[in-house]
Symmetry: C2
């Protein structure tokens, strides 16, 4: 199949209890594409400024990411600055400068219009729909969002969700979107908004998948060193959607395996700042960690 992502490409400045990184490569589309690139070919739609160095574009190309949809606008690239405490589950945003992202009008190259699978990373739900409507009959639409849009553009978000098959969001966002503290009930409310499948990301506690056939729980990999959680959610989405695009089916078996591949990619990503861990990652390591997830969760039936 063919996988298209629209999202952000950014420079991140991140501080964690374990170190700092300044103006490093980041952004939802970047993390997603790189993680997904281990499973399938990715087409990227995003915008960067005139300050964006060629070496980052070359890195994406080296991962076989199609950057025909990566616009270059005059001005500065989107910048995000955040900090994490010892509780690495939640980032404290210190500064957001949208820059060229503020006037971003995603236009889809002709060659992208036949994409089968579309991932709408966390951007304005109006933009998400603008991209989606330029694609001819996608087979699968997956989507992310955040509290900023749930609070500020809920009506627009709900229109996007009506056209979405799979929604991937954080636990607190799921509760806020459904206005319901119990997660099982929140999931049912959100599924009625459109997405048949809801994936709730819980940081170091793993992820839950709610869909017609019930619930699936994927743990997070217990890591001895979590350096930087930035991009974990987008790396998860990249592993999840990328694997589904690769296996070309959406049955129960594949969805569950995709949840684990998503968890595997997130677990690697948090081991270093920016996309550094994925720069050296090979597919054998991914397979090996997948099997570690099996050992982490397997138990015998009772007789």
């Amino acid at each position: 199949m063919s996988l298209l992502v629209v999202g952000s490409v950014a420079f991140d400045t991140v501080k964690t209890p374990f170190g700092e990184a300044e103006d490093v490569l980041g952004g939802s589309a970047t993390y997603f594409s790189t993680a997904a690139s281990y499973f399938t070919d990715v087409r990227m739609v995003a915008v960067v400024g005139s300050d964006f160095p060629e070496k980052h574009i070359n890195f994406l190309k080296s991962r076989n990411v199609d950057v025909a949809g990566l616009q270059r606008a005059s001005g500065s690239t989107f910048r995000w600055k955040g900090e994490y405490g010892y509780d690495l589950n939640e980032a404290k945003t210190l500064e957001t400068r949208l820059n060229v992202f503020e006037t971003f009008k995603p236009t889809i190259p002709e060659t992208y219009r036949t994409s089968d699978v579309v991932f709408l990373a966390n951007i304005d739900p109006v933009l998400q729909r603008e991209v989606l409507h330029q694609i001819e009959r996608p087979k699968l639409v997956a989507c992310d969002t955040m509290n900023f849009w749930i609070g500020g553009k809920k009506a627009e978000l709900i229109k996007t969700l009506a056209e979405t098959d799979i929604l991937l969001i954080n636990e607190s966002e799921a509760r806020e979107l459904a206005d319901e503290p119990n997660l099982v009930r929140a999931a049912r409310i959100i599924q009625k908004m459109g997405p048949k499948t809801l994936i709730v990301k819980r940081g170091e506690y793993g992820a839950l998948m709610f869909h017609a056939d019930g619930v699936f729980s994927a743990p997070a990999y217990p890591l001895e060193s979590v350096f930087d959680p930035t991009g974990a959610g987008d790396s998860f989405a990249g592993g999840f959607v990328g694997y589904l695009d690769n296996v070309k089916n959406l049955n129960e078996t594949s969805l569950r395996q995709a949840m684990i591949f998503g968890s595997v990619m997130a677990s690697f990503n948090v081991e270093d700042f920016s996309l550094n861990r994925m720069r050296s990652l090979d597919y054998k390591e991914i397979e090996s960690r997948y099997r570690e997830f099996r050992r982490l969760t397997f138990f015998e039936d009772i007789v």
Copy 2:
């Protein structure tokens, strides 16, 4: 084998967003014994006051719990009052009246001295050792504790841990005990204190088991209605230790199954106030939920 528990029997007054219960049956030994009683025979060591009604003792007897070690002292039974918000993970203690528990000197009936498995519920670590030393060569010692003892009697607690095989504690307590925010490293530090196996309870996020052979992750059962989390940890311990006593071995397979039986018992317990859900529970329901845990976590290997 034979399973002995020492802990509290209490009257709880609990408020949750879903209702209130006043002076209902509670206490760590009560929850533990009742949960364990579905798997094995339990011997209880605890103290109640002159206000403790016969009907509660009859309930324990109806679950085949041996109450020869349940002392009756003159005075009032231990009372705990707590409240939960929508985040049901942490109780806010409003009042603790130790009453007869303040001068509790656990003496072990002669018939209990040969117990193979001992569970030291969350009480003063000095009392935990006093009980333990009255048992002839137990085969397995499991233990719980809380931040109150970690903060106030750490040296005594560490002496108890040196004689413990399995420690079951909450996530924040594990971090505090090890003085280490990363859970994987905290586990290694705690294992060096004595317990070869550490079980970290994470409330609605499930539980992790760290031991020589690696890590096992058990999810919590996603419930639509959590009424009262009181006793969830002790019900978990009851299912876990009770199952191990029943199968009479401690191999990897049994330990993992025990983690799931613990999770099953905790998931039932939180469905109602006090021990109400366990009053009507039968073993077929336990087996059925065990299989639901399999469906919740199972995924295929990759080829």
